[in-house]
Symmetry: C2
Subunit: 386 residues, 2 copies
Amino acid sequence: MKIVSIKYGSESIRSDIRNAFVDFSEMTAGIVAIESDVVRNGKPLVGYGFTSNGRYAATGIVKTRLAPRLLKASRADLLNEEGNNFDPFKAWDIMLRNEKPGGHGERSVAVGSIDMALWDLAAKIEDIPLYQLLANRFREGRVNRRVYVYAAGGYYYPGKDLPSLRDEIRGYIDAGYESVKIKIGGVPLDEDRKRIETVAEMTGDPGRVAVDANGKFTVAEAIQWGEALAPYGLKWYEEPIDPLDYAGHAEIVEVYKGPLATGENLFSTIDTRNLIRHGGLRPDRDYLQMDPALSYGLVEYTRTLEMLTDHGWSHQRCIPHGGHQFSLHIAAGLGIGGNESYPGVFGAFGGFGDDAQPAAGYIEMSDAPGIGIETKSDLIEIFRKL
Amino acid sequence: MKIVSIKYGSESIRSDIRNAFVDFSEMTAGIVAIESDVVRNGKPLVGYGFTSNGRYAATGIVKTRLAPRLLKASRADLLNEEGNNFDPFKAWDIMLRNEKPGGHGERSVAVGSIDMALWDLAAKIEDIPLYQLLANRFREGRVNRRVYVYAAGGYYYPGKDLPSLRDEIRGYIDAGYESVKIKIGGVPLDEDRKRIETVAEMTGDPGRVAVDANGKFTVAEAIQWGEALAPYGLKWYEEPIDPLDYAGHAEIVEVYKGPLATGENLFSTIDTRNLIRHGGLRPDRDYLQMDPALSYGLVEYTRTLEMLTDHGWSHQRCIPHGGHQFSLHIAAGLGIGGNESYPGVFGAFGGFGDDAQPAAGYIEMSDAPGIGIETKSDLIEIFRKL
């Protein structure tokens, strides 16, 4: 059993949307396809991975460092003890060989995309969905067949006014989502208030509305906005400040007593541990959104979950950024709290399988082997071009 | 005044050396040349930059994100108010446009290489050495003409024994260095003890010997090694643990009372601020080694220095990693504590100008305009290939 080839590329996912910090006019995603010599139904099994969204393709790192290391590794270095499947943990060690500590960005995205492809491949070799493989390996087979999802949208874009925001949110509710997230901080507070109140009225409960500042505010601004947001009783207040300003978070929670959410821009277990150690977050209410695809993959994510357990955090507090099928499987297989969903954003890289329709805010997992990228027709089309 | 072209490439700096964490069998450096339309002596002025060493070229990011953003920027977005030179601060904002917060690695290296080239170009346009430009801009013209340097070496490599270590160190002392650094943690403690004692005897003072574990140890191991090292009274004990384990540093300094050094794998002001906030380091003895070329360039480094001043740290505590001419100019122009030097490592990317010979541990700065890469014949040869 061996890797026959690793193919990779970069796809534009440009759009006119923006959050408070960046616009997506140049955004790309990296894609990876790992072909094995395992033949099923006359075809070699292939694992697919991609770089989530929001941080650009990291194709250069895949090409110059990670793929060459994997391709020159011996079989024993990549296979499990029985020799009947690839071991993503061993592959991870090979990818990170001769990489210094620290500097967890881009590299973490490149590793994450290959890690996703390897888990997809490993589950296909067992001919089971990835969530089942994870449940078997880490939870004595226990699967959460239904996974909580929320619709992330409410971006700013040219010409977007309250009526068009209302149309967007109406679409999410009609599609079966119960809770939604919108951006804040890209317009003055009074304008954002109207957006929040509009959406809260539509969901029928402000507790079903999360807001996301994408790290734009200073600590003082974040506190000021927090004071304005607190009376609503929102679902959560996301990325008020720079994700690495741990002590700043500790200042905010002194004042803002509702749930905070952050973590999508923390890309390693050690960065997340610093947030937990120094950020003052509260295991009874706050949410952690680390995205396995951006942060060294599921291998590293298992270490992050273990670290969180050691610090008294339930897996249920984790709801990853990214809205991809990989995290959906991780939620079902490892019992984390749910997953983001981008029903209308990031083109083929947003959303789940074609038949994965939420009902009352939950997605029922499918039985497709692997991650099920084959069940998402627009996305598999992109991979087939490789 | 405009940028005519941005050329970039990647050079192998592979070697058989290793530290306790990585070997350098695959190591590369990225190079950048920025050509302006300013003609001097019949030739257009060109600024040169590279990615220091140890973290691989980041050419993909230069190519797909940074160079395109700079090349499509308007002239006003790149020039100073007088319109008579490029403004690296403005260029920095353009490079980081549409880049999310967090994830400071690789991108920081790519930005650092372009930032170096822009400062080189800006000083050449003024026809003065970079240190003079920096002194004029930030220190009312005050220059430190002599810069403290130490020889970094003592790597592990096949067949290296005590006699060959002795030869290496002899070479540094004969070349005019007073203090040296060697690697530790790649062999058992007893063996490293012999290496340290050998080198301390040669320098005549263990206070002239620094040791570097390259982040290999756990906190417990670091403390155990620290207890063994403490009686020597070494110059410093570098990167005992993962550079991002801030609280771990605070534990170590509870026990190890001699100077610690770290920071070469912190790539942003905010990461360094976390070290200062949570790492327990002591402004009266410890050293900070952030490398401007790896960490978003000199623009970001000025912010780091300002942050350090706010926290009561003298510029003198900063001795950057990397051993390149860029940091030598920063030391002379901004008055930081000195610079690393790699007289025998990293090929053309180690060492300073051809005529820059240390005397009693200090380098006398030259009058060459810019960074003076033209005065380093093996390095300028590489850039000319672009």
